[in-house]
Symmetry: C2
Subunit: 373 residues, 2 copies
């Protein structure tokens, strides 16, 4: 999903509680007790808000199914910032034994002019799919597809296109009219991605997203409401901080670690990460450091240190000056990241063998032999 | 193709020559001599203008192919007013041995809210196809398809969607923004219909249309220009007059004769047609009548009387008071129409047997057994 005027405004706002109320999004109090606290994402507020996920949990309690849908606009390799989203999906899928629909939205990248041609997006789409599956999904309950070559999606998009006026899309996305026709229609394609499991397979869906993408949920919910389709639920996740202290972004490689960055690059990036440390070791030993602004601690808290006691000791070690960024925390994170990469590359090879099983349609494996663009 | 602000303005305008110049459309002088005058449409100016058809004829002279594309938004049965378009296509196809692509644009009818659902349009689409084929096409060179279920068209529409801004579409079609997203995107679908023979099969195309539909040609030519695809040519045809004197329209049944109207209805409609006749037979014998405002004579001239000498005698007979509307011309036209219908119904039965051969994709013949909506 692409950034736009309204979204960027939301990102700049710090009055999250007001935003949540404004758009009918609830805090997670009423779902954490039902999901349980076995996963740190729910214990530590990485999943910090939801809309209608309580209704999904009602269904779970009635032994009725639901589905997860989360698209991916094929682009650069995945980075560790993406782990939160996919780890959440993996967790929910395993816990609730539900289907995961994975549209690879080459059409999105194309209409927003991030790629030259639809054809050239097939390879990154497959590469991304491999990356995602290698995070630990089992093929049985995954439905992956490349959006532009999935006629059912294009048909549903056309079907839904009567339920959204240009003016509504314009207002939601802050368009000025100079955008191409594809960007207008993409709202309908995205609605097709989100609602297809409901329309075709009878499963209400939940979409895990960042709050900045909520505008697309609202547009899709408008369509679902008009068509009397169960409205999609959503779970809102916090992103990991970028290594330089600002937001993480694929297009700024120094802010993130790619899953396939080599060890030397990983080391360089992590050892240069922005932390809450003091100017000198001596000063830090004396005064302690600040974990609350530290990107390394953020990565620990949101993903890498799963044990709460361990995390708390790390926090206290930082605050109390016992842990030094460059001597303790950065090397520890580096080791964790490299270990993850090692296991991940093994899983990736396994996935390559079985890739066609994951897909809804035939895929051309020879694409993967060709040169990357 | 649908009517809209700019189109309706064009229809109201009588300064055809100015319009033609404004939009780069040429009169037929430079093509009639090359096509020949064997068909009345070219002899009598029923084909009254063209854009780039001379380039198509250049190709013909170089033994290179071209294709004809003419869509049909499935609706009521065809009426005799549609004959001109399809007879022109049949003539050109036979003369130049070229392919005829026939998109049945259920999507158009759907996004412009002429039908409730895409699914309900499958039957009228097939019915229309049967009607058209029964006009005398041979299956070998016809490529008919229902647009919404033809993935290649939806894919091409998406491809073309980056080449047209909303503002350009808005200006061309006179939109105000309250139109649904499908109507905006339909421009791209239509471009896909028109350009697909060129993109996929290497044939430059000609589109026979009414001048009121030229705005769609211009939008598609913009796309072709940006993609460096040979621009589609067009032939502009005059419509037959409606029986009540104004324009002919399927939605005003008294203005037209449907191909499958029963004999009683046909008789009633034709015998009530608006003519240039006088108040009484005696007066007409004395003063003559006016063929130039007469719908019956218009039908003779544009389609039913193919022999020029016969037509001229009829004109003089009218002007000189020898022919009386209700005694001579109306019964003559009625007889011609009924004879056409009789032969047409026989051909229709033949077409029914071979319908699947005409289509690019599998069709569900059982639809034809179900109740019409």
């Amino acid at each position: 999903m692409s950034k736009n005027a309204e979204n960027q405004d939301i990102e700049k706002r710090t009055d999250y509680e007001v935003i949540l109320k404004e758009f009918g999004i609830a805090k997670t109090d009423n779902i954490v007790s039902r999901v349980g606290k076995d996963h740190l994402f729910f214990r530590r507020g990485v999943v910090f808000a939801h809309r209608d996920f309580d209704k999904i949990l009602d269904r779970v309690e009635q032994n009725k199914g639901f589905a997860i849908i989360s698209g991916r606009g094929p682009s650069n390799d995945l980075h560790f910032g993406h782990l939160i989203l996919f780890e959440l999906i993996r967790y929910l899928q395993t816990k609730y034994n539900c289907n995961y629909y994975m549209p690879l939205s080459d059409d999105e990248k194309y209409v927003f002019r991030k790629v030259d041609s639809l054809e050239n997006t097939a390879r990154p789409a497959l590469e991304n799919a491999i990356d995602i599956f290698a995070l630990g999904f089992q093929p049985e309950n995954v439905h992956a597809y490349i959006s532009s070559v999935t006629p059912r999606i294009q048909y549903l998009a056309l079907t839904f296109s009567i339920n959204q006026t240009y003016n509504a899309i314009k207002a939601a996305l802050g368009l000025n009219g100079d955008e191409n026709a594809g960007t207008v229609f993409y709202t309908c394609i995205q609605a097709a991605h989100i609602l297809q499991p409901t329309v075709d397979d009878g499963f209400p869906v939940v979409v895990p997203i960042g709050l900045d993408q909520d505008v697309y949920m609202r547009l899709t919910r408008d369509i679902a409401r008009k068509r009397k389709i169960p409205l999609p639920a959503s779970l809102y996740i916090k992103y990991m901080k970028g290594l330089t202290g600002g937001p993480m972004s694929s297009s700024a490689p120094e802010t993130c670690v790619f899953l396939r960055d080599d060890a030397k690059t990983v080391k360089k990036k992590i050892m240069s990460a922005f932390t809450g440390g003091r100017a000198t070791i001596q000063e830090q030993r004396e005064l302690g450091a600040n974990p609350y602004i530290c990107t390394v601690f953020d990565w620990f808290e949101k993903y890498f240190i799963q044990d709460d006691k361990d995390l708390e000791e790390t926090r206290q070690g930082c605050l109390g000056g016992r842990l030094i960024c460059g001597l303790d925390c950065k090397p520890r994170l580096l080791k964790m990241v490299l270990k993850y990469q090692e296991e991940y590359l093994i899983r990736r090879k396994e996935v390559m063998k079985n890739l066609p099983e994951y897909f809804e349609h035939e895929i051309d494996m020879t694409i993967l032999d060709s040169e990357s663009d």
